[in-house]
């Protein structure tokens, strides 16, 4: 237990600190790196909860894809972050007021939090019903059976997202010169090269 509590406070502490650093760091690259640190620690918290699959997904998806994409954007695009931040300070008092109201409300809800009396019977898929199975195996048991609808719908959503991004960005430019690989390969030396015999001394 002590080890677990220690691990929890370690992960949670680093998570909060790095989250704070994400929004306070001056250098945007540092912000993204702190974001990655935050993701790793959040993954650690999930492992402590026994949700190792979500932990791994968090690392793969958020660190592997999202954060790297952020890094690309930050480093490749020439965005003047100092300029973007200019004037941001004037919103700080309002932000603090609204944030603290929200915080107060959330604390109020959670301090009065009560579960429904038979909440444990309501659970759709408690992990205990899967015996000794690991997270990933248990998910595999239900994802394509009980949750097939949600799974297929997410497929459709991704499909629409793909169609949408093509609709909004693909532009046909007819006048552009494109490389046509097949016609390049089809060229033969005999079609385009002509070997001429030049007699020496005639200049032709």
């Amino acid at each position: 237990m002590i080890v677990q509590a220690f691990a929890f406070y370690l992960f949670a502490g680093i998570l909060l600190t790095s989250a704070l650093m994400v929004i306070t760091a001056r250098n945007p690259v540092h912000s993204v790196l702190f974001l990655i640190l935050a993701f790793f620690n959040a993954a650690g918290l999930f492992v402590l909860l026994g949700a190792e699959f979500i932990a791994m997904i968090l690392v793969i998806v958020y660190v592997g894809a999202v954060a790297v994409l952020f890094l690309f954007v930050v480093m490749m695009l020439d965005i003047d972050f100092a300029n973007l931040r200019k004037g941001g300070m004037q919103y700080v008092p309002l932000g603090i007021i609204i944030g603290s109201i929200l915080l107060f409300e959330l604390v109020a809800i959670y301090s009065y939090w009560a579960f429904a009396p038979d909440v444990s019977q309501n659970l759709d898929m408690p992990l205990s019903s899967f015996g000794d199975l690991q997270n990933a195996e248990a998910l595999g048991m239900v994802l394509y059976t009980d949750y097939i609808f949600a799974f297929q719908m997410s497929g459709l959503i991704l499909f629409v997202a793909m169609v949408g991004s093509i609709v909004l960005t693909l532009r046909k430019r007819p006048n552009i010169r494109k490389q046509i690989v097949s016609s390049q390969h089809a060229r033969k030396a005999s079609d385009v090269l002509e070997v001429k015999k030049v007699t020496s001394g005639t200049g032709g």
């Binding site: 939090w113 429904a116 949600a150 169609v163």
Partner: protein, 478 residues
């Protein structure tokens, strides 16, 4: 997983299949196939409606209780399919006129339609969210469909950012509800709540978040700010689509949510909807008065109409829900008819959007002007047109539930909003004539206008048939 019964969702599966097939055809044939694909999609919607009518509407839960099929879902899906067919038929000519006729348009409309149909038959917070996102994502793309127009891009960006915010609120609300109940299944939530003496605050907060997100989707006050901008900026055919169909789906979803899982929390949600309804009525009536852009006027008009629909929901009875269904049918008809005129407002090949451009419309095109006048009279609720009955049934249901204040406010808002509807009529008939509009109005638009006008006029002779079937559908929720 007991057995895989897919027959009840055959219409949706059919639409998904033709959506993908049409995309493939479009990819190979290019944008010249847009016309064919649009009309084929319209026929597809009709076929889906026929499949829907043929299927069994008794209460069935399928796909591990993710979806429910009942007569309420059935009739809402029919309304959605009707709206999809009409709005796509209206779009075809406009797409060509604005040179944005790309084959993805009908495909996106089909997938938005699939999302909407799943929305009204979802029986689980998870399926609700997935269906809502499928719908919203298609709508965001459609709003930006006019890529070269700055306004279209602005509208889409606003819609997307605020829509993402509302999705966040929806998920947060669902997580609070799940935290309390331990399940996202509608029936489990309903049973758990009805076994309690009082509704705990944590659940109420979750419900408020969910309602706020849905109020955004139906553009009810105070979550209506995006509506005028998006309606104005989006291509007009997309505006027509936005005004006609997604509202129906989101209201259907809202009704199922309020009367099935949140049934035991009726006292809580009633207060919220009461004020949302009053707010929508007031803003819908007063904010449109100072507008000159006809698309903005109809944005506010749709906000006001949502206010009326919410009165019927607040009534909290089967009669209220039934009156909302009839109101929605009449609303679809009136909005479609009005947008026929707005889509035809073109001069020298360019779209004009100002109300004053309608000046002298009665001299230049008397038939359409009289049809528009009938639609506007109906929108302002003047008997004997259908719009009057739509409101009448809702006020009746409200009076039966002793919501006298709400009914009175509804009537007052209807009087105020009559001002801007009548103002359009005044401009059309009495103002000095300006140049006529281009006269190449597609057959589909004329046909829609004719059908709508006939429907609005003859509704007085057959109100009971529609009302009875709506009531029958409404009772399946209770």
């Amino acid at each position: 997983m007991d057995d895989l019964n897919l027959m009840p969702i055959l219409p949706e599966l059919f639409l998904i299949a033709i959506g993908m097939a049409f995309l493939m055809i479009g990819v190979f044939k290019g944008n010249s196939s847009t016309n064919t694909l649009c009309w084929a999609s319209c026929i597809g919607f009709v076929i889906a409606a026929v499949l829907l009518m043929k299927s069994d509407w008794s209460v069935t839960y399928i796909l591990s209780d993710m979806l429910v099929i009942d007569s309420f879902a059935g009739i809402m899906k029919l309304l959605i399919l009707l709206g999809l067919t009409v709005s796509l038929a209206l779009s075809v000519q406009y797409l060509h006129q604005e040179r944005i006729a790309r084959f993805e348009y009908p495909v996106l409309v089909i997938f938005a339609g699939v999302g909407m149909m799943f929305m009204v038959s979802s029986n689980n917070m998870l399926s609700l969210y997935m269906a809502l996102e499928l719908q919203s994502l298609s709508l965001y793309v459609l709003a930006a469909f006019h890529r070269n127009s700055l306004r279209s891009g602005e509208a889409a960006a606003k819609y997307f950012i605020l829509g993402a915010l509302s999705s966040g609120m929806l998920l947060f609300g669902i997580s609070l509800i799940y935290g309390f109940v331990g399940s996202v299944d509608f029936n489990t939530i309903r049973e758990t709540l009805s076994s309690l003496d009082s509704i705990p605050p944590g659940f109420t907060v979750g419900m408020v978040f969910v309602l706020a997100a849905l109020a955004f989707k139906i553009s009810a006050v105070p979550f209506h700010m995006w509506t005028p901008d998006v309606y104005q900026g989006a291509p007009t055919c997309v505006t027509a689509f936005f005004a006609i169909v997604p509202k129906v789906a989101a209201l259907g979803l809202l009704m199922r949510l309020l009367f099935v899982p949140f049934e035991a929390a009726t006292d809580q949600w009633m207060q919220i909807l009461y004020f949302i309804s009053i707010g929508s009525l007031v803003i819908g009536a007063f904010a449109a008065i100072s507008q000159d852009n006809i698309k903005r006027i109809f944005a506010y008009s749709s906000i006001g109409n949502i206010g009326y629909a919410l009165i019927g929901i607040v009534a909290g009875t089967a009669a209220g829900v039934g009156s909302v269904i009839v109101f929605l049918l009449i609303y679809i008809a009136m909005t479609a008819g009005a947008f026929v005129i707005i889509l035809s407002m073109r001069r020298n090949g360019l779209a004009v959007e100002n109300v004053t451009d309608l000046a002298g419309f009665s001299k230049n095109n008397p038939v359409m002007a009289y049809a528009m006048a009938a639609i506007l009279f109906s929108l302002s609720g003047i008997p004997p047109l259908a719009g009057f009955f739509g409101k009448l049934f809702i006020f009746e249901a409200a009076i039966e539930s002793e919501l006298y204040l709400l009914a009175t406010l509804g009537i007052l808002a209807s009087v105020v909003s009559a001002y801007y509807y009548l103002r359009i009529i005044k401009i059309m008939f009495f103002d000095e004539a300006v140049d006529a509009f281009d006269n190449d109005i597609a057959l589909a638009k004329r046909a829609v206008l004719l059908i709508v006008t006939l429907f609005l006029v003859v509704f007085i002779f057959v109100p009971n048939f529609l009302l009875d079937s709506a009531m029958l559908a409404a009772t399946s929720l209770f």
